[in-house]
């Protein structure tokens, strides 16, 4: 075998910057490398880096691509070279790119400088650039999942309230009533239905618009019938092209003539019907003629079925018997089709539902706008709006800073309809050969995000190119990669055979089944590999015993492999979470530590329930159950006797009972301690964050020790995770914190066990494993039924995309339980829905199986009947068992017995002696700043009274005082008084309202003018003294006693006015307090002196120290501006 992968030339070709490609790349084919390579190639030719747009579906993929490109650019900058020829071949392009974009080097270096982003980030970018065109609030952000759930609930409930406020005969109120009656007057069911439909509103938007535009049922009927007809025609067209090509079709006229002659009572159609939906009844006659009731080609031909005597011996009978399977299946499926002209059975209910959804949607939109958030549906729709309509596409150059010249899309199989439209709009106006290219890469077999609206059919559709409105298609060159670099030859062979021949054989594209494309191992991967299939027979009486055996076997095998691990990674991948706990327990029982990705919901852990009860109890004194739960928590386990005793205490609530009980001398210590801590901390609830209070109590009562004793470190980490979530949920109001906590807990998983972080064994769902690889993969629970209970159930509504390329959806409601009528449209949609579920489940197994590099262990439960094993219908195991030649491919192990040999699990050592905690000493403050006075202090002294008194009044005095001080400072510089307006503005700037400011300016000026006329003030303010300063800042370290400085204190003050007139130093403090009424001047001055004496003496000390002067030379003056009076403070 050559050293080069077989598809090397294809890979090289797909880098051509002049051509557009559609690349199908199987699992492990290295598509990120290809994308990176193409990006670098393009970067070396474009004029600006922003002319390339690479879109991914996950941040992880975007980051990985950025990282690789960054790496290549850095290496190119350094002039490095590598062993890998593929990388080396790219370095010159990277160097060229660096040179070409030297002016934009920051873009190349900045992590988000290159346009490599998820679809959603790109939508956000478009919206941010053009929010108005996108019709979203300017600052809208994408809502977090948990918030979105809360918003939906709020919107639905608000709508309900609004509708009930309408008059009884209002169509909306009638609609709500009818929906409720349909649902047995059960609001929660209707609420759930509305919530789901709002989350999928983009699929229903066209119908809602139709109903809004013409709100009558006939119109809706016409629209739905139209869609149904189009769909029927689409199916008939297929048959119209396949049926005539069969022997029967080719000889139809002869058959018809024969039957007409022999049995003229019910002859089949004279000629092969057309593809109009009116032809459906004729086709159904043909279908009934050719097929038995259970949909197989007839082998017996009775007269009652429209045949004639001895028909069985005719040539036509052979033709019928030999009808090709494809035609049989087409005929079979159209028998179930509803006649397009029969009214939809529950049109009234549908109309009501659409009205309700429309109304709720409005409420939801309004709510989102108010909160400045949007969900992902809105994000995509808004981006589409920003890009303009089909007829008037927006100029991308105007939206973004550059025109996009090249688009790359990763994981294209996960594209949703909106994303597909977005891509089409981005390419609007592109012409073949104009130098702009599209490069899409994906693997349809790995499309497993149907629940997130991914439509694998788009990948198939895109093979034809990208439809450009008014221009036909932008052609893409289809390319298939064929090398798998991940798995060894044995695994590849197994996958090719089982999927190609059985699981994905004869795909039905109508329900999104995809054709299997085989792949080849990379050179050097030819040897090794192991595939094991272990089946466990279900025992009738003990339904779950087989599952336990399977789990036990799996755990033993994992233990065996990890014991001789050699660094092998092991992935245990589950199709669903149902038995996750069972497998985990089996692994734990074997002493294995495994890394679990999103394993157990946090709120289901008992230790977390205890913490939750504590939070509840603290907030709700009346929650008896929460209080009682504290007594049975990990930290305070009491027996039934104590519970009973507590229940017999006085008190209407359990909180009270526990309080009384704890005083009982026989009360357990744990209860006493619990109550003690709660009493200590309870008063903090509502004042502190709830997480802090809960955390503090938990530590007070030695909760961490108790939890660790019971559940080990993982338990403690779970509790800490809970506290973290509780802190995130903090809303300031405890009840609201609890509501948020509940929301957050809905989707919170237990963090990984800290003891398993180094474990090579990982357990996760197949969905999470996408994009990962392991040396050894275990796929247990292969008997999982992808339809679950849903196969039997009837969901209240079905909203499905109609097969064909229109992308239109049809909705039908489950039959009204009161009427018990069959609804053919509903049945049709249910059939499509089920088949799509099954198609996706096949892809899920493909993803699962292709994660393995070397070994694959498959297991599941079977039923034994007559020596034959069979598995649940539609399960992967059922496909496996049906595969001919399976035995040659796998090592089969029916009901393996657990090996008796014990292999020791890797031990985890606990430190017996803990080191002493490190010491930490707080740092002393170098000094404390004290102030002899502050204007504010002055005011505080004056104003005392009720705490809740509006503060405006005191602010006025404060502002007035400040302005007068500033006026004095201004005057002291030899300047003239400002205008009245300027004084009013100064008051305004101090936060006084306009009215009061204007009113007070005159008075302030008058007061200052009066002071200026007063002798002392005029003297002091003169600027021509030997030394004069206003607002003079001074600092010192006060002397405690003779010559000893208080080193821990710095005194800092601002003296209003200091003047040295040659003889004395005048130290003046202005006081703007007016003389209060009812008090004599002498008394007032005495009081004020008492208040400010200390402050002025301090200033004197500071001044004396700073200037080295005799304090006796410093005269201390309080100057009262209101009464224009200087008052000297003497020793």
């Amino acid at each position: 075998m050559s050293k080069e992968p077989a598809d090397t030339q294809t890979r090289i070709r797909s880098l051509s910057p002049a051509e557009s490609f559609h690349v199908e790349s199987p699992a492990g084919a290295g598509k990120t490398s290809l994308l990176t390579a193409r990006f670098i190639r393009l970067l070396s030719v474009v004029d600006h880096p922003h002319e390339i747009l690479a879109l991914t579906f996950t941040n992880k993929a975007a980051n990985e691509m950025r990282e690789r490109i960054g790496f290549l650019l850095r290496q190119a900058e350094k002039g490095a070279s590598f062993d890998e020829p593929w990388v080396n071949s790219l370095l010159p392009h990277a160097q060229k790119a660096l040179k070409k974009h030297a002016r934009h080097i920051n873009l190349l270096k900045s992590p988000d400088g290159l346009r490599i982003m998820t679809f959603h980030s790109f939508c956000l970018l478009l919206i941010r650039q053009s929010p108005w065109e996108a019709q979203v609030p300017f600052d809208a952000v994408v809502a977090r999942d948990e918030d979105q759930g809360a918003l939906l609930t709020e919107a639905v409930r608000n709508t309900q309230q609004q509708i009930f406020a309408l008059p009884p005969d209002d169509p909306l109120r009638q609609a709500l009533k009818q929906r409720l009656l349909h649902m047995n007057n059960n609001w929660p069911t209707l609420e759930a239905e509305l919530r789901q439909l709002i989350a999928r509103r983009d699929l229903l938007a066209d119908l809602i618009t139709e109903v809004k535009a013409a709100p009558d049922k006939d119109h809706l009927d016409r629209v739905l019938t139209g869609r149904l007809s189009a769909f029927i025609s689409y199916r008939l067209a297929e048959l119209r092209s396949s049926f005539p090509a069969t022997e029967l079709g080719g000889n139809w006229s002869f058959l018809r003539a024969h039957l007409h002659e022999k049995n003229p009572s019910s002859p089949p159609p004279a000629s092969i019907p057309g593809s109009a939906c009116t032809d459906l009844p004729d086709w159904q006659v043909i279908a009934n003629l050719c097929l038995t009731k259970d949909g197989k080609p007839r082998k017996q031909f009775k007269i009652a079925d429209g045949f004639c005597k001895n028909f069985a011996g005719t040539y036509w009978a052979e033709c019928i018997k030999n009808l090709p399977e494809r035609v049989v299946s087409q005929l079979r499926s159209l028998r179930e089709l509803p006649f397009s002209d029969t009214p939809l059975t529950d049109l009234d209910a549908l109309f009501d539902l659409i009205l309700m959804v429309g109304q709720t949607m409005q409420a939801y939109d309004a709510l989102c706008r108010r909160r400045g958030v949007m969900d992902y549906v809105e994000l995509e729709l808004a981006a589409l709006r920003a890009l303009g309509g089909e007829d008037t596409p927006a100029d991308l150059q105007l939206l973004l800073d550059r025109k996009i010249q090249h688009i790359l899309v990763d994981e294209f199989q996960d594209t949703s309809r909106n994303q597909w439209h977005l891509l089409q709009r981005l390419c609007a106006g592109w012409q073949p050969g104009d130098g702009r290219t599209v490069f899409i890469v994906g693997d349809p077999k790995q499309s497993i995000y149907g629940f997130r609206k991914a439509e694998v059919s788009i990948f198939m559709e895109a093979r034809e190119g990208i439809p450009i409105p008014g221009q036909g298609y932008l052609k893409l060159t289809p390319v298939n990669l064929t090398t798998n670099f991940r798995s060894c030859a044995k695994l590849i062979d197994f996958t090719n055979e089982v999927f190609g021949q059985t699981v994905m054989a004869s795909p039905d594209e109508e329900v999104d089944e995809v054709p299997y494309q085989a792949f080849l191992p990379a050179p050097g991967k030819e040897g090794g590999g192991r595939i094991v299939l272990a089946t466990f027979t279900k025992n009738d009486g003990l339904l779950n015993e087989a599952r336990l055996r399977e789990a036990g076997w799996l755990a033993r095998e994992v233990k065996r492999i990890s014991a001789n691990c050699d660094g092998k990674t092991i992935g245990i991948l589950l199709p669903a979470r149902t038995y996750l706990a069972t497998y985990l327990k089996a692994l734990t029982r074997e002493g294995l530590k495994v890394q679990v990705q999103e394993g157990i919901l946090l709120k289901e852990r008992p230790e977390v329930m205890d913490m939750y009860s504590l939070a509840l109890a603290l907030v709700r004194p009346h929650d008896d159950l929460a209080w009682t739960s504290l007594l049975r928590s990990a930290w305070c386990w009491v027996g039934l006797d104590i519970l009973y005793e507590v229940s017999r205490q006085e008190g209407t609530v359990w909180k009270e009972k526990i309080r009384i009980f704890h005083t009982n001398p026989s009360a357990p210590e744990a209860v006493k301690r619990l109550w003690g801590s709660i009493t200590l901390r309870m008063s903090e609830v509502g004042r502190q964050s709830l997480a802090k209070v809960v955390g503090a109590i938990w530590e007070d009562i030695e909760g961490p020790a108790a939890v660790c004793t019971r559940f080990g470190p993982a338990g403690v980490e779970n509790c800490r995770q809970f506290l973290k979530i509780l802190a995130d949920a903090e809303a300031g109001i405890p009840e609201e914190t609890l509501s948020r906590l509940n929301l957050l807990l809905e989707t919170a998983y237990a963090p990984p066990d800290p003891l398993s972080v180094r474990s090579p064994v990982q357990v996760m769902t197949v969905h999470r494993a996408k994009g990962l690889e392991f040396d050894v993969v275990f796929l247990p629970y292969l008997d999982w039924n992808p339809l679950g209970g849903s196969g039997k159930d009837s969901p209240p509504y079905l909203l499905e995309r109609l097969p064909g390329y229109t992308g239109e959806h049809l909705i039908a409601l489950s039959p009204d339980r009161r009427l018990k009528k069959e609804d053919k449209t509903y049945k049709l949609l249910k059939d499509i829905w089920k088949k799509r579920q099954l198609a996706e489940s096949k892809r899920l197994f493909y993803v699962a199986a292709t994660r393995a590099k070397k070994e694959l262990y498959l297991s599941g439960l079977v039923t034994e009947r007559d020596g034959e094993s069979s598995a649940t219908k539609n399960s992967f195991l059922s496909y496996l068992l049906a595969h001919t030649g399976l035995k040659a491919k796998v090592e089969s192990m029916p009901d393996p017995v657990l090996s008796a040999t014990e292999v020791a699990a890797p031990a985890i050592s606990i430190k017996s002696e803990l080191p002493e905690p490190i010491l930490f000493t707080p740092e002393r403050l170098p000094y404390q700043v004290i102030s002899p006075s502050s204007l504010k202090g002055e005011m505080t002294l004056r104003e005392s009274g009720s705490n809740t008194h509006p503060p405006q009044i005191s602010d006025y005095h404060l502002a007035r005082g400040t302005v007068i001080h500033r006026l004095f400072e201004h005057l002291s510089k030899g300047k003239t008084l400002p205008t009245e307006r300027a004084v009013a503005v100064a008051m305004l700037a101090e936060g006084v309202d306009k009215h009061t400011s204007q009113g007070s300016a005159k008075g302030i000026l008058a007061e200052v003018e009066a002071c200026l006329k007063e002798e002392f003030c005029a003297y002091i303010l003169r600027p021509d003294h030997p030394f004069a300063a206003s607002e003079w800042m001074i600092e010192d370290q006060p002397v405690v006693d003779e010559a000893v400085r208080a080193t821990e204190t710095v005194r800092s003050g601002i003296i209003d006015r200091v003047v040295f007139d040659g003889a004395y130093w005048w130290l003046v403090d202005y006081k703007t307090t007016p003389l209060p009424s009812g008090i004599g001047l002498e008394e007032f001055l005495k009081e004020q002196e008492m208040l400010y004496r200390g402050q002025l003496l301090s200033y004197r000390e500071m001044l004396a120290q700073q200037r080295q002067i005799d304090p006796a030379k410093i005269r201390l003056i309080l100057y009262f501006t209101g009464i224009q009076k200087a008052h000297e403070i003497k020793d």
Binding site: G113, Q597, D624, L625, L640, I733, A982, V985, D1036
Partner: protein, 887 residues
């Protein structure tokens, strides 16, 4: 122009202090640096042995601009933030608002930010030839805004640098002898103009650092953010052994994301930020005033009114520790919530109070403030008022409700802040009368904009600061945390109202300018300390997280595992020490079963429902019947299935008894229907206004019509109604430790065949027959039959045979009469089996055994008997780790 440069910030600070005297003005970009320099100056004076000194004036550029402006006694006022937004509001309302935009504070803010950016970045006026509709609208709004600004005598703060520059030029400002400008690495163009002007014309010296000697750098990658912060705290603790705390700096570019975690980990490993004897650390967190619990509590009355008087908010008000009025009665008041929940009243103060009046009047007296009616007080709130009017109304409510009951200095500080903000708001909102929504929106905005810092010292303790704050500071060791993509450079700032060309001129509005800014900031960080440690998380939610472009090569990857390798630093966390202690004893699992309770507190008589519970799980029975516990019900929207069932039961009982009393036969369609109507009216008399009950009434009509049909058929078969709601008690059996009481929904008789059949109405799901004859989970019908057989319900007629069944009334399409055991012989076997079942149950219970033993057993998930059981936090079943597989 004068420059003062140094290699490191420490050197630079020393040079500045050396030069500074009382006639020096030092301008800084932020307050923190100003404080730092003031401190350095003091220390220098003290070290020089000065007893007193005259400090230089050290202020931020903004304060100096404001001060200088005011000193010129201008006749225009710098417009305050809220007053400015009010002007934008007026401007927006005067324009034709483009479709899709909403006139709200968000838009006013955006306009103001755009306007400021244009001025600060000296963006030239737009050419008039082509303007997009949005930009055209913006220009119009700008014009109106400027007109109003002028008319009101306001000046926009963005103009200040230019205005002061003019004043400097015309000599109307007096400048000190020496001006030093520090820390202006990347000023906006107008500030740059001013600083250059100061330097050129007034001798101001521009002080900056220029590193040509890179510090010692260590780069550490940790698996995730949690470990990164834990590692940081540990390393800081180790560093603190030989470095003065205030000389250790931690710069966090992405502070808002990191602050909660940093605070938590520092609190755990070090303790509080400050202690009596000094400082431990100082995190400049800047929580908003709005988010403070006291503020949240303060706004409760207003929110209660605005948000539809919800139960949760009302309860929060009553239980809030800040409202002194209700202080002593919280336990009693909380009881009100149980009543509201039970009656599903979730909204409307009058409804909430009304139900209390009816059901628990004693609570009501604790709710009303003396001399006031609470609903009335809040009812007075709506309407329009001026800002000041709203604030007065709020103060009045607070006064009555005795808010705030303050506990400590921190709360005091928060309340003072709140008061100040309210006063400023009253002033800024002016004379216009606004509604409560608008007032709340302004208030919320003002409070969100105000930051309240957690107290800490800047001069003592480890300093944890943001990137901007770090300007000009100096440390011995610096940590830069969270250097992953998106932290440095930060994501591009969003200016939707700027054109592309305009954005290219605004700092931070393009990737390039953000990168440039980050590059300068990073270069500056490298001059802050001689040793720098950079850290980053390698992953986020298990996805790899790329590094910042400034992340150096040669990182060291490490991990923190305080379980397997507990370090001396991590063991400072109390919880971890405790947990390690506990781990030594691990595993001590929960007891698999509770020890029997002897003597068993078993009532002498049990109801049929209690027996059903005991069968389904003895522990459930213990919690429910013995302990009399019940969960706090969740209020339902619509009608709860229990309530639906109760009323339907009442209706059936009433109807059958009325029919019998009035001697009407089902065959008399007219009469029976009119009786049915009367009965419905009676049963629903108190809920006629409730829309859900109106719908329920309609649902009943279909359901009852089907039911009547079936009843008529039975009538034709010879059956008639004999009794309804037949109570029985003292049903006993020699081997049972208790007697049983219950109530049979209906008893029918077939006179011809002398058969008796008792019926149980089921408005929900009907138990499958196997639950009666094979799994023994549904005891009702067997116990009814045993009661009848034992003569516990006296029947007025003799009979020969007894059977029982369910009448399923789930929906109109599901009405049916079902007898799970076909004939009397079948019942015979079944009843004797049941007698034995109850005997063994009795033995178990009377021995004090109340194990958690659910039937049906949950499979995989929490289903089976546990599905709706509220006691899972009490029982042992879900606490067991290893022993039991819930499969």
């Amino acid at each position: 122009m004068g420059y003062l440069t140094a290699r490191t910030t420490q050197e630079l600070q020393a040079k500045i202090i050396e030069k500074a005297d009382e006639e020096t003005l030092i301008l800084t970009p932020g307050r923190r640096l100003a404080r730092r320099l003031r401190h350095a100056f003091r220390i220098a004076q003290i070290e020089r042995g000065r007893r007193a000194w005259l400090p230089p004036k050290i202020v931020t550029l903004n304060s100096w601009l404001n001060e200088t402006w005011l000193e010129s006694w201008p006749e225009e006022c710098i417009v305050s933030d809220i007053a400015c937004l009010c002007l934008w509001k007026e401007a927006v309302e005067e324009t034709a608002l483009p479709e899709g935009l909403e006139s709200d504070i968000g838009l006013y803010r955006l306009l103001d930010e755009t306007y400021s950016a244009i001025i600060r970045h000296k963006i030239p006026p737009l050419p008039r030839d082509y303007l997009s509709p949005l930009i055209g609208w913006r220009q119009k709004a700008f014009e109106i805004f400027e007109g109003r600004l002028r008319a009101k005598g306001y000046v926009h703060p963005a103009f200040l640098p230019a205005l002061i520059k003019d004043k400097l030029r015309d000599g109307s400002c007096v400048l000190p002898k020496q001006i030093l400008c520090v820390g202006f690495e990347s000023p906006a163009p107008v500030e740059n103009d001013l600083l250059t002007g100061l330097a050129k014309d007034h001798g101001a010296v521009i002080c900056s650092t220029e590193s040509n000697e890179p510090p010692y750098i260590k780069a550490v990658g940790l698996p995730d953010v949690e470990q990164e912060v834990m590692w940081l705290a540990q390393d800081v603790l180790e560093k603190a052994q030989d470095t003065p705390l205030h000389r250790i700096g931690v710069v966090v570019p992405n502070m808002s994301a990191y602050a909660p975690l940093l605070s938590r980990v520092f609190q755990e490993l070090i303790g509080s930020p400050t202690v009596e004897e000094g400082g431990n650390y100082n995190i400049s967190l800047g929580e908003s005033l709005f988010s403070q619990p006291l503020t949240q509590a303060a706004l409760l009355p207003l929110r209660l009114m605005l948000e539809g008087e919800g139960r949760g908010l009302f309860l929060a008000l009553l239980l809030s520790p800040y409202y002194g009025l209700w202080g002593r009665h919280r336990n009693i008041l909380a009881q009100a919530d149980r009543v509201w929940r039970e009656y599903s009243i979730d909204q409307g103060l009058s409804d909430l109070l009304y139900i209390l009046q009816k059901k628990k009047p004693e609570i009501l007296s604790f709710i009303h403030p003396p001399g006031h009616d609470l609903a009335g007080l809040l009812r007075d709130l709506p309407g329009k008022r001026t800002g000041a009017g709203w604030i007065e109304a709020l103060y009045r409510l607070w006064d009555i409700m005795q808010f705030p009951a303050i506990n400590n200095e921190d709360e005091e500080r928060v309340f003072r802040h709140l008061q100040e903000k309210l006063a400023a708001l009253a002033c800024d909102l002016g004379e216009e009368k606004i509604d409560a929504y608008t007032f709340y929106a302004w208030l919320k905005y003002a409070l969100e904009e105000t930051k309240v810092n957690v107290p800490g010292y800047e001069e003592a303790g480890i300093q944890v600061i943001g990137l901007i704050e770090s300007r000009g500071l100096s440390f011995d060791h610096l940590y830069v945390v969270g250097l992953s993509a998106g932290s440095l450079p930060q994501p591009v700032r969003h200016f939707p109202l700027l054109t592309r060309e305009e954005k290219s001129l605004v700092q931070g509005a393009t990737i390039e300018s953000q990168y440039l800014f980050a590059e300068q900031a990073f270069a500056h960080l490298m001059t802050v300390a001689p040793a720098v440690t950079l850290t980053r998380p390698l992953e986020e939610k298990s996805d790899p997280l790329p590094a910042s472009p400034f992340w150096p090569e040669g990182e060291e990857n490490t991990a923190v595992n305080y379980w397997l390798e507990p370090g001396q630093a991590s063991l400072r966390a109390g919880w971890l020490r405790q947990a390690h202690e506990g781990w030594r004893d691990h595993p001590i699992p929960y007891p698999t079963e509770d020890t029997p309770l002897v003597p068993a507190p078993l009532p002498d008589e049990l109801s049929v429902t209690a027996i059903e519970k005991a069968i389904s799980c003895p522990f459930k029975f213990f919690a429910d019947t013995v302990l009399r516990l019940s969960e706090l019900p969740e209020p339902t929207i619509g009608i709860s299935s229990q309530e639906k069932g109760n009323r339907l039961h009442r209706l059936f009982a009433l109807f059958t008894s009325q029919m019998r009393k009035q001697g009407v036969f089902l065959t008399d369609a007219g009469q029976s229907e009119s009786i049915l109507k009367e009965c419905i009216a009676e049963v629903l008399a108190d809920v006629t206004d409730n829309p859900y009950w109106q719908i329920e009434r309609e649902r009943w009509s279909g359901l009852l019509a089907t039911w009547l049909c079936l009843e008529r058929k039975r009538k034709e078969e010879g059956w008639r109604w004999l009794l309804e709601e037949a109570n029985f008690s003292s049903l006993q059996n020699a081997s049972w430790p208790f007697t049983v009481h219950g109530r049979i929904d209906r008893i029918d008789i077939n006179d011809g065949e002398r058969k008796i059949c008792c019926w149980d109405y089921k408005t929900g799901s009907t138990p499958p027959p196997v639950d009666i004859h094979t799994h023994f989970l549904a005891p009702q019908l067997p116990l009814y039959l045993l009661a009848l057989r034992g003569g516990k319900t006296s029947l007025p007629v003799p009979f020969q045979s007894l059977t029982a069944g369910y009448i399923s009334l789930k929906s109109e399409g599901e009405v049916q009469f079902g007898e799970p055991v076909k004939d009397e012989a079948g019942w015979e076997t079944c009843l004797s089996a049941w007698e034995k079942e109850i005997t063994s149950l009795g033995q178990r219970l009377s021995a004090g055994n109340f194990p958690a033993d659910p039937k049906p057993i949950p499979k995989g998930n929490r289903n089976g008997a546990c599905q709706y059981c509220p006691y899972l936090t009490l029982c042992t079943y879900w606490k067991k780790e290893e022993e039991n597989d819930h499969v």
